[in-house]
């Protein structure tokens, strides 16, 4: 009996024994990015809606010339796409039960949000340093 139990792998031993005291990473990071986006989001709406609806490209150039504006926007974009990745992942995990389509959707979600984050941050950097 004791010999037999020693032949079991580490994974087999821990299966069904409950929490491994980790796995709350997404839960905590979703809330951290949410808290960060309260001031960042309010700043973003107030400043960018006025620029976007003015139809004035000179205003856009002046906005991105500021280091403060560009830094705030990059912080927001990083928090936003990370928050979006976690949020959409939770929806996929709730409603998609077929293993293959779930994996495909999770990969698409990860790649799309990573791609959009990098693309938009590089665009902000280009706008900042070219003005």
């Amino acid at each position: 009996m004791s010999n037999n139990s020693q032949l079991r792998s580490e994974l087999a031993k821990v299966r069904g024994l409950g929490s491994a005291k980790s796995g709350t990473k997404d839960f905590i990071n979703q809330r951290l990015t949410a808290i960060a986006m309260i001031p960042l989001g309010l700043w973003f709406v107030c400043s960018l809606l006025c620029i976007a609806t003015s139809g004035d490209t000179a205003k856009t150039a002046a906005f991105f010339a500021s280091g403060f504006n560009s830094s705030m926007l990059i912080l927001l974009l990083a928090a936003m796409f990370y928050h979006a990745k976690i949020g959409v992942q939770i929806i996929i995990e709730d409603y998609l039960h077929c293993p293959y389509s779930k994996m495909a959707a999770l990969l698409f979600n990860l790649f799309l949000n990573s791609g959009l984050a990098v693309t938009s941050i590089v665009a902000v950097l280009k706008l900042h340093f070219s003005h």
């Binding site: 809330r31 986006m37 709406v45 003015s54 979006a84 949020g87 902000v124 070219s130």
Partner: protein, 133 residues
């Protein structure tokens, strides 16, 4: 024996249509809906940033579109989704810290979220309209 256990459909727990609609259910569904809507909105944001960075001519026409009626309508919907997601998100953060657990307080909090997000959306657009004149 094993055939018996696999051939019978297992009982399911009651789903959404069984329950009477409550404010907290509606806000929960709207939270996801507004989140997904804003993910779609990020495509517009990334397009706008990239256009400004790489193609000024396209950026000018995109700005013209956003300043127009349909563009403003899209931005209005996006800002409404943003303010709702923000206010309801703050409600979730407070719930996480143990607030609003009684039925009455949970119900009051949903009305505060609806009222605050509606007020902030209208206030923003009054300011935008004032600034564009």
């Amino acid at each position: 024996m094993s055939k018996n256990t696999t051939s019978h459909a297992r009982p399911l727990s009651p789903h959404l249509q069984i329950y009477r609609w409550q404010n907290t259910m509606i806000l929960s569904i709207l939270h996801r809906a507004s989140g997904v809507a804003m993910v779609a909105g990020t495509l517009l944001l990334v397009t706008w940033l990239s256009a400004n960075a790489y193609d000024p001519a396209f950026a000018a026409s995109l700005n013209g579109f956003l300043a127009g009626f349909i563009g403003k309508l899209m931005l209005f919907g996006w800002s409404a989704a943003f303010y709702f997601h923000l206010c309801n998100g703050v409600r979730y953060l407070l719930l996480d810290s143990g607030k609003f657990f009684s039925v009455e307080n949970a119900r009051i909090a949903t009305f505060v979220v609806a009222g605050t997000s509606g007020f902030l959306t209208l206030l923003t657009w009054i300011i935008v309209w004032g600034g564009s004149k």
